[in-house]
Structure formats: C-alpha cells, structure tokens
C-alpha cells in the first residue's frame, strides 16, 4: 500500500486551527524556516482510511494469540483505557501545584505501596520509563552505593548468566561496569561451580531473571544469594518474568536488593506496537537514599513530591515517569486484589499445558515442569527435514497465530520460546498446539509449505539482509526509488480482518 506521503496532494489538509486577528509575531530572518517540511498533505477522510489500513495490517493481542516468550502478551482490559482518559489524568500538567494534583500523587503512592508488597522490598521509584531503563537505574544505584562506601573503585564487575536478555549486558556497559558471564548447568539453573569462581571482592552485583528466560525457577537460588551476600555484593532482579510468581514468591524475600517491574508485561500496560512501557524499581532500605528524585511521599492525609534526597543519583526521566502507564497498571492490580496469585497460577498452568502437548514433538531441552513460559528446540526438524525454527515461526502465521520468540535464549539451538499468559482460553491453547503439531507433520511431508511461509499475510517473507545492507529508513519523495508496486492494491478480505 502507499505511504501517507505518496497519497499527498498539494493543497489538501485535514486541520483547522484558530487564527486570531492579531499582528504577527516576529522571528529574526536568520532563524526563520527557509523551506517547509514535506509533511503529508491529506484530507481527514483519507487520513482516517490510511491509518485504518495500517491497523488492518497489524496483529495485536486483540487480533489473536500472541505467545511471544518473555513479552507477557496478556489481554489489556478496556476499563484501563477508559480511566486513563479521564480528563483529571489525561489533561493534568506534570508541574501542576501539589494541592491541585492530589489524586495523581495518591495514585502513584498507592501503586508504590502495592509494588513494594508484591516483591517484598520497601522503597519504590516509579520513574524509569521501561525495563531496560530500570536496569540502568538499578546499576547506577549500585555505583552510588559502593562509591558512598568507598568501594567504588574496587567493585567493577557485574555477573550475568548466559541466558540473560540482551538488555542486561547493554545496561552494564552503559553504567560503566564490566560484564562477567556465568554458565547454565544441565538442569537449566545457574552453574554454581562456575559462579563461585567468578564472585569476589571485585563484584558489585548480580543481575538475574528468575524464572530465567528458559522459563525455569532457579533451584539453587538460596545458594546464589549466599554467594553474593558473603562477597558483600548486591543482587538485581530483572522482573521481566514476574508474571510467574506474583503472590507465590517474592524476590525481596529470597535476597534481592533491587527489582525492576515491567508494567507493560506483568501489569497489562498495552505495548502499543513497541511502547510505552514502565520500569519502576523497588529497593531495600539501604539503597533508598540513592533513588531518583522526586519521591512521592505521604504526609498524613496529603501527598507530595520530595526532592530532599542528598544522595540521589538524580533523575533518569522527566517528571515522575510515565504516569498514564501507572493509571492502567494500578487499575489492573486493583481489579485483582490479592488474587494476583491466581493470575500467576493460571499463567503457569497454561504454559505447562502447552509444554505437555508439545514436548513429544518438539525437543524440550530441560525435562522439568516450567513456570510461565518454556523453551523448545526445533533442531530435530532442522536435522531431519532441513526446516528451521524461522520456517516454523513463519508457518504459524498461516494458522493465524503470532509466532513465539525465536532464537532466544542463545544457549538453546533453534529455540522457540513460548509464553501463553493467563488470559487465554483452553480452546486457544489447543488450537495453537494443534497447529504446532500439524506444522511438524508438514515439515516432513511438504517442507516447502514452511520454507515459503507465510502465505496469507499482506507480504511474503521479507528480505531483512537487503534492508540492513542498503538501508532506506525514510521516504525520499522525488528521489525515492519506487518499489515494484506502489499502486494501492485492493485489500484482500483477510487483511481487512487483520489476520
């Protein structure tokens, strides 16, 4: 389909704006725009159709099952959209006086209290904008903490398992720390022997996702804690997989000092095609003085912003963080109350059910029950039929499912990482399992069906190598090389349904 720029016609517009009858404001000639930006010129009817057509070509959790491992694609309740659009939230300026933003402050304070209880750590900052920023914030807290104790120059290393999300090592570098990798043992736990050799007085901390990206709770967690605490190091909990353990186990209780939450995973902030997210952190008392400012605090019946933290690391984002995300997540948690535990229980039940249905056909690298997600390997299909995990993923699209996360974690060859979440019905899980089994059969009988998949999407398999080798990352107007079809093709029925 055409780009919005290709639909433009000079002289068309959608906007109408107030144009007061006043003398013009003055801009020095040297600072005045010399040639206008080539923004779309389009009428409102065409504008709405254009973006509706783009929506039709996008698959969300509203469209269908989205078992993207480690992303926790659960249903996003619509009541959350209603409340976040209340004018008292939506049209509130972040620098409004405190006496005129008591509702917002109270909501944030209440969310802090809830998050503290969920992970068993007392002090919360809602400010980080996403999980990876929560990670960086946590590492900057470690820096500030050790610098304050005179150990800043000594403790330079952060230990990370080889199953970690890529954000962990990237955050370590951005925080100015050195990375130390630790291996995974044959049961999918952190290899304790390897770990013991890598933790010492040079260690600032550990970053651990638990359950791990293998979907397994680390059975040696108590020993891991002992090792780090004996070394005087801190422990950081990556909360990407918190959906597995709410109300069941708390990172603060098993030794972690810093936790980040992914509000867009566990607590149902819609992911918006790539964001927004929310990455609050919770910490133990000894780290509270270093948290970002402002803190949201309660004084009797009123709430205020407290900038009085002399040891703060500063600010990691503007204002108090992504407030609209807080409204949705607060609403989500209040819908559950203490039954958050049931949310995690069903997430784990759904994952184990799918694992049970698939593990005889696809290889399960670890013969254990899983938590909220699990990893399969497609190496058998590759060995026997020359069909890759990428082919399986693309073929799933023809069955109207979003593929799982693939080729991650890195330690499992041809990995398929599947996270169904708690909100799916058994019928949906069965339909997905049936599709996976059917695809495995197809791999043997008609492998070309997989290799040429997808067949029913608006485009066939895309050339990612070409995109990276000759990057075209913006429309170039008259200078833009026309691809083969710029004509606006009639949309097939399937695309209109958005599948």
């Amino acid at each position: 389909m055409k780009l919005v720029y290709e639909e433009s016609q000079p002289g068309r517009r959608a906007s109408s704006l107030p144009q007061p009858d006043l003398p013009a404001g003055e801009v020095p000639d040297a600072l005045r725009r010399s040639s206008p930006p080539r923004l779309p010129e389009i009428s409102e009817p065409e504008l709405v159709r254009h973006f509706t057509a783009l929506a039709d070509r996008t698959f969300g959790i509203d469209t269908g099952f989205y078992p993207l491992g480690s992303c926790t694609m659960k249903h996003n309740p619509r009541v959350n959209e209603r409340v976040v659009n209340l004018p008292g939230f939506r049209d509130l300026h972040p620098l409004q006086e405190e006496d005129a933003s008591q509702g917002a402050l109270e909501l944030m304070w209440r969310l802090q209290e809830i998050l503290a209880e969920v992970v068993g750590l007392p002090a919360v900052s809602l400010q980080p904008a996403a999980g990876s920023q929560g990670e960086l914030t946590g590492l900057l807290l470690m820096r500030a903490y050790f610098a304050d104790r005179g150990e800043g120059d000594l403790r330079r290393q952060i230990v990370i398992p080889d199953t970690a999300h890529g954000t962990n090592p990237a955050s370590v570098t951005m925080a100015g720390y050195q990375l130390v990798d630790v291996k995974t043992d044959p049961r999918g736990n952190v290899d304790l022997e390897d770990l013991r050799g890598k933790v010492g007085p040079q260690t600032a901390g550990l970053m651990l996702t638990n359950p791990s990206t293998l979907g397994l709770f680390d059975e040696g967690i108590e020993e891991i804690t002992r090792i780090f605490h004996e070394a005087g190091a801190l422990m950081y909990y990556d909360g990407a997989n918190l959906n597995a353990i709410c109300g069941i186990s708390r990172p603060g209780d098993f030794g972690f000092d810093i936790v980040h939450f992914n509000l867009h995973k566990t607590f149902s902030q819609p992911h918006g095609g790539g964001g927004p997210g929310g990455g609050p952190i919770a910490v133990r008392e000894r780290l509270e003085p270093y948290l970002p400012v402002p803190a949201v605090v309660r004084d009797g019946d009123t709430f205020r912003l407290d900038y009085g933290r002399p040891k703060t690391i500063g600010k990691v984002r503007g204002f108090c963080g992504p407030f609209g995300v807080f409204v949705r997540s607060y609403a989500y948690i209040r819908s559950y109350g203490p039954a958050l535990r049931e949310m995690s229980e069903v997430a784990v039940l759904n994952a184990n059910y799918l694992l049970a249905r698939l593990k005889d056909t696809y290889e399960a690298p670890f013969d254990r029950l899983c938590m909220h997600e699990f990893v399969l390997s497609g190496r058998g299909l590759k060995r026997e039929h020359g069909v890759t995990t990428l082919d399986v993923a693309k073929r799933l699209m023809d069955y109207r499912f979003h593929p799982p996360t693939i080729y991650f974690p890195l330690i499992v060859p041809e990995a398929l990482m599947i996270e169904p979440t708690e909100t799916e019905a058994k019928e949906t899980l069965d339909a997905f399992a049936d599709a996976m089994l059917e695809i495995a059969r197809e791999a043997g009988e008609r492998p070309e069906l997989l290799k040429e998949a997808p067949h029913v999407r608006p485009v066939k398999r895309l050339d990612e190598v070409r995109a990276a080798k000759q990057p075209i990352v913006r429309y170039r107007f008259d200078g833009h090389q026309d691809p083969q079809d710029v004509a606006r093709e009639p949309r097939p029925l399937e695309a209109q349904k958005g599948v």
């Binding site: 020095p28 939506r90 509130l92 069941i248 186990s249 500063g314 109350g337 993923a393 990352v473």
Partner: protein, 443 residues
Amino acid sequence: MSFLSLTERDREQMLETIGVGSIDELFEQIPEGVRLGRALDLEPALSEPELVAHLTELASRNVDTGREVSFLGAGIYDHYVPAVVDAVLARGEFLTAYTPYQPEMSQGVLQAIFEYQTAICELTSMDVSNASGYDGTTVAADACYLARQATGRSTVVLAEALNPQVRQVVKTYAPGFGLDVVEVPHRDGTTDPDELRAAAGDAACVIFQQPNFFGCLEPAPDLAAAANDAGALPVAHVDPVSLGVLEAPGAYGCSIAIGEGQSAGNFQSYGGPHYGFFAARSEFIRRMPGRISGETVDSDGKRGFVLTLQTREQHIRREKATSNITTNQTLLALAGLVHLSWLGPQGLRELGETCLALSRYAKDRLADAGLELVFPDKATFKEFAVRVGRPAKSAIGDARAAGINPGYALGRDYAGLDDALLVAVTEKRTTAEIDRLIEVLAA
C-alpha cells in the same frame, strides 16, 4: 475480575494432561524457603463499576487544564490534540501489538514507524530518525552516548538555558558513560557562541535548546558553528511544533536533533507517557540508539518494512550495543505522526504563527500593564519570562484562586529569578483569556 478464561473443568483436564494433581505441584520447583506462604496484603478486588468510581474520585482531585485556564508549560504544553489521534490510537491492532519482531505480522506498525521517521527527518532536516526514545530528557543522554563513541572525547557541554530536567538526566547518566558535564551560563536569556566555543574545546557534543527553556530564540546557527569549530557535535533540542516557522537544525549544521514530542500529538498526562525523538545525519546511522524501521522487499519483490540495522542493538550486540533500549514509545510516536499528518506543512506553519502572534499579544499587554519582561530584547516563540513584582509562588497562588494557572516559577531552577514566571501561550488560548491573565498578574 474477569480477565481469565479457564473454567474449573478446563483446569482439571489441563492438570491431567500435564500429569500433576494440583496447581501447587507446578510450583514445587520453587524452594520451600523462598515461598511467600501467605496471601499478598493488598486491598480487596474491585468490580469494574467500583474501579471506575474509585479512579474517577482520584481524578477529580486533580485540577486539569479543562478546569483552569493554563499558561503552564516549561516542557509540556496544552496544545490541541485532534480527534483523529484518539481514533487511530483506539485501534486495538496498534494498541495491543508488541514490538514488530515478526515483520510479516506487523506491516502496518512498521510502515507507520517508517512514516514517522520520515516526518521527524523532514521536521529537523536530518537524514535518519529512530522509532522514538522515552522522552525529551533521555534522548539527550542518548545523544551524549553516541557522541562519546563517535568522537572518543569525554566531556559534554550543556547550555544552562537547556531544560533543567534534561540537564539533570544527562548528569545522572554521565558517570556511567565516563563523561564529565560542563555547563555554559546564559547571558541575558540566551547562550553566547564564543563562550560555548571556548567550553567545547575537548567536548564530544554540545547540547542547546531552540527555543530555549526561557522561550528565547537562541542564535542557533552561531551555536552550531561554534560547536563545529571546536570539533564537538552540535545537538539541537527542539520543539516539534515550532519547526513550521523556525529553521530546522539540519539546515544550520547540527549533527543531531532531539526533542520532547509531547507538543505533537500527546496529551499532557502528568508527564507521560510521551515520546522523545532522535534524528541525526546519515554518517551516524550505525551508531543510532533504538529501533529503526527500514524499507525492503518480500520474496515476490513487493515493498515491505522490517526493523533494520539490528546489529546495533542489545539483543544482537549485547554489551557492545549502541543502547540498551528495547521498549520505546511507538504508540505515542504514532500519535505524533497522525497529528503532523493532520496539520500538514500549512497547518504546522499556521500553528506556529498563531503561537507567535498570541504570545506577542500577551507580551505587549503585560508591558502595557507595567510588568517587566525578564529578557525584553530577546525574540521568543510561544513562551516567555516575566517579572511579577513579588515571589512567583504567591502570584501563582493568587492567579489560581481566580481560575488561571499563570505559569512556572523560574526560581525553582535559576538563581535571581524568584519573581519570574515562565508563561506559555499555545494556540488554545484566546485574547480574552490572556486579558484575564494580565488582569490577575497586574492586580
């Protein structure tokens, strides 16, 4: 609460398939010693009507810009958000999609990101834009990280007239990046190019804001030239809705253009979620932070879009990545694209001219009323600083009692400006509202 879909019968059948007797058995891999063993101490669940009532009560204790006439800006503005933005963002396909890792499932959002990148490049006259950063503060830190890697230099220079929160965020990130931060004071509301040049001698980049935090127009081409002279990358922090009337950073020699996107398409929302934009010249394309959508073809040669240049990113490059960002602000950036498409070049220019004219009207009336502008000789865009002849805080209190929020107390961030208000005038304000503002401030 009804977000779960399993019946009791489903659960029994599923447990049987798994081969366990109860849900508790699934959790036996968690060592006994680290299980909670009690219910979470949370308030009881609310039904949907109760939930809406509770949140409506909380919202009612906020005074939003529908309940008072707002001249409050300082980085977040009460601009009009067109209805088409609401309509597009309410589409569940956009709202509830994840990052487009599987491009064939996500052509719509990938094309929207490509169109957004084009709009940002056009606004800023840059060659490449990413899919968005968190907000207008973190993109400044991203720019410093890029500049550090690109130049090998270990200092960054910030204009003091750059938004204080942006400076604070850069200072928070800087130690991790191995960067020292130097600030160049403003001179009568703007930055002196010679002072900037002198400070930038061994700097990786220089960040200034146009219009700056005081609303004043910086001599931006001279500042960019000063940075270039010193071998530092010039970075302009710009307001997207100003770029119909103000010159684009790419046209005056900047290497990178960044900014807070809220003015284009986002509600104020107590500070977020919004989006930060990040655009640069093509030479920095492989050093960009964050996601980038690129054009390619499918196996039939038909145009399509994918996330591209991913070898920059954390999931491939891990500790050597150009950034740790994964989740960005795609939905808010989409809102920006829709707003900018709604405006078009003509609408964007009109919006800028309206802000200019209304703020000129406000400045003229304030002067007529005997109030003194803090920087009377400086041109401004939609925001300006005025002395109110008493502590700004008390002027704010009095004005708010009359239903007007008159602006931001500059003394919170700048010494010697305790009697100064930063007043923002968007296209939503009327001359009648401005007259009322003058009335309460002059009283």
